[in-house]
């Protein structure tokens, strides 16, 4: 969640009874238990999504109802098996998911898994860019705020952090577009690249789909510059959303470590204040950031849906919005399930990293 209170302990591990029993368990055991917890999480989400999406009826009527004559509609429903009992369909859907088959989209009739692979790369690129912006903005500003605690800069940065949270990405995106694209004319308005470059990059041999990577691989510097120019505004809009949270987190934790005895000892030895902040107090303060970064993945993915729509960035979020408008719920379900898997797996890795860094987590 994006609440400003960062992180009630999040992964939910703290709530599970399993932990109490394994006091003293080793790292290997912790990883194993944590790994098997991924599956119930995904299963619950898939089940919820499946049944909720069906409460309004079958996907074919939703997508094509009113556009086809009733007999033809019924024919397609029977052909797709949507007239069978819902539990039969549910277990069939689960079985298909395990084999990686997400079904076929209704509006443009292509395999959902193929669609996910094509657009997933774009979303990945956007999320990475945004995360870089968030870290690049949040950490230095957090250090400044901690160093100048309760002075003017701190107060200003605090308001900045709240503003970051209070501004929806589509509004900051709109403001960026107006300022940098329309009035100043510095950056492109929307899209991931100009059509010519996009064509060049997608027609490469085995493209990764991450444009800057493809541009570097093919040595196409003009395309690289173009791709970078397109990436700035979306990354900024989405990155700032999270930057505020990182800023506050760094500030809080650095203030905490600045009060520790070893920092005091360093100060008495004559270590410069700058060095104290950037070296002594900074590193231990990074641990909580890793944990929160896992939480932020969910926020970033949610934000990516809105950012992609704002900038016509053709990724999963943009497709999701398109399929929502087309009422193609098979495709929507596929995207939502994929995002659920990504979130569950990321949280798993974050917990593992946290456990490696801080043995107390494993208890």
């Amino acid at each position: 969640m994006t609440t400003l209170i960062e992180a009630p302990p999040t992964d939910g591990e703290g709530l599970l009874p399993i932990k109490k029993k394994t006091s003293g368990g080793g790292l290997g055991r912790y990883i194993l238990i944590r790994f098997f917890l991924i599956f119930p999480t995904i299963l619950i989400l898939v089940t919820m999504v499946f049944f909720l999406m069906r409460t309004t009826g079958d996907p074919i009527t939703a997508a094509l109802g009113g556009r086809l004559p009733p007999e033809q509609l019924q024919e397609r429903i029977t052909a797709a098996g949507y007239d069978r009992p819902i539990f039969v369909q549910y277990f069939e859907y689960l079985a298909q998911l395990i084999t990686g088959n997400f079904g076929t989209t209704l509006s443009d009739n292509r395999p959902v898994s193929e669609m996910l692979a094509t657009y997933g790369a774009a979303t990945l690129e956007l999320t990475i860019n945004a995360l870089l912006v968030a870290l690049a903005v949040g950490i230095p500003l957090g250090l400044i705020a901690a160093h100048r605690r309760d002075k003017g800069p701190d107060a200003a940065l605090r308001v900045f952090a709240i503003l970051c949270y209070a501004t929806p990405v589509f509004f900051s995106g709109l403001l960026f577009k107006l300022t940098f694209s329309v009035w100043l004319g510095w950056l492109p308005v929307a899209g991931r690249a100009t059509p010519a470059n996009e064509l060049a990059l997608t027609s490469l041999e085995s493209p990764t789909g991450i444009y800057w990577l493809d541009a570097i691989r093919s040595g196409n510097t003009a395309a690289l510059a173009d791709v970078m120019a397109h990436a700035v505004l979306p990354a900024l809009a989405l990155g700032l959303l999270t930057a505020g949270i990182f800023l506050r987190l760094v500030r809080t934790n650095v203030i905490g470590t600045l009060g520790k005895d070893y920092v005091e000892a360093g100060r008495s030895r004559g270590v410069s204040e700058y060095r104290l902040v950037t070296k002594h107090a900074y590193k231990p303060a990074l641990i909580p950031i890793i944990t929160v970064m896992g939480l932020q993945i969910a926020v970033l993915l949610g934000g990516a849906v809105l950012t992609e729509t704002t900038f016509e960035w053709k990724g999963l979020g943009f497709q999701l919005a398109t399929y929502l408008t087309a009422r193609d719920f098979v495709a929507v379900q596929g995207i939502v399930v994929l995002l659920a898997v990504i979130v569950a797996v990321t949280n798993f890795f974050v917990d593992i990293v946290a456990a490696l860094i801080d043995p107390r987590v494993r208890y």
């Binding site: 209170i5 992964d11 939910g12 709530l15 599970l16 107006l178 995002l339 979130v343």
Partner: protein
Amino acid sequence: MSTTAVTEPVKDPRGPWFRRLPVISHFNKSVGLQRGMLVAGLVLTAVFLLTAIFAPLIAPFGFSQISDADGGFPAQEAPGGKHLMGTTVGGYDVFSRVVWGAQTAVLVIIVAVIMSIFIGVILGLVSGYIGGWLDRTLVVIADAIYAFPPLLVAIVMAIAISGGRSSLWGGILAAAISITVVFIPQYFRVIRAETIRLKAEPFVESAKVVGASNIRIMRLHVFKNATRTLPLIFTLNASEAILTLAGLGFLGFGIEPTSAAEWGFDLNKALADTTSGIWWTGVYPGLAIVLTVLGLTLVGESINDLNDPRLRGRKKAVSGKGGPDSTPGAQAALEAEVRSS
């Protein structure tokens, strides 16, 4: 105090009841920058609420009005004159829609937050008090929803409720229920953790010994003690409800422009205007969202700081230390709530 109380009528040491109300007591405790933040937040929130209540009086036109006695409104007219904030491509008056949008937002927040508190608190109480497999199942489900992007949960709910189509009350209800599902896990976690802690307290034990029923213990002894963190979560969730509603509206799952005004929907429509340099259709609804969320967040943050004696600024500030600082307290408080299980 206790010695004088024998002869004089007992005076409540806590002061008159109205000074103990959540926000007022916080205001009295606050000082300096903290008070400034609280006041700024309260002012913004008050403006938002007043706009919502008096929308019919403030807005010069209806939210779906595209003509008046002088004929149809011009499309995409710049701000000024009759249309204070200009008009949209469809000929709607931007100012009126911003004002009416406040009303929609308030309705959604009220319905959503009340529903999620109600359901979340009951589930948390029951789950924490009874424990066992019911508790475990509910916790796993709540955690699964909690980890998922809230906007996606809201989208799925919106599809389930209205199939994505919406009228005024249908739309408000759909948006509210969608947001509710996002928030229930939060209330659930906090209340459940608190209930588990309280269950072991001596006063609950003694109530059991006296023979009070489980329902009575839950209602009387646990509930009253477990709800002290709710005002804080309430303000923070209200701001998040606005953002979620706007997000839904932006994706086209909001409320149709003819049945109510909704800021997120207006921003979506404004997106196409930006390329031609038309800023007023997007900037004003966007600012409305930002200011409202800012106000609610400032109030929530201040309450959070003031609830924690370690963070509260002292009336006589001694030095730089112990000044306003929200996060560690917030984190510590919530962490204590949840981890105490």
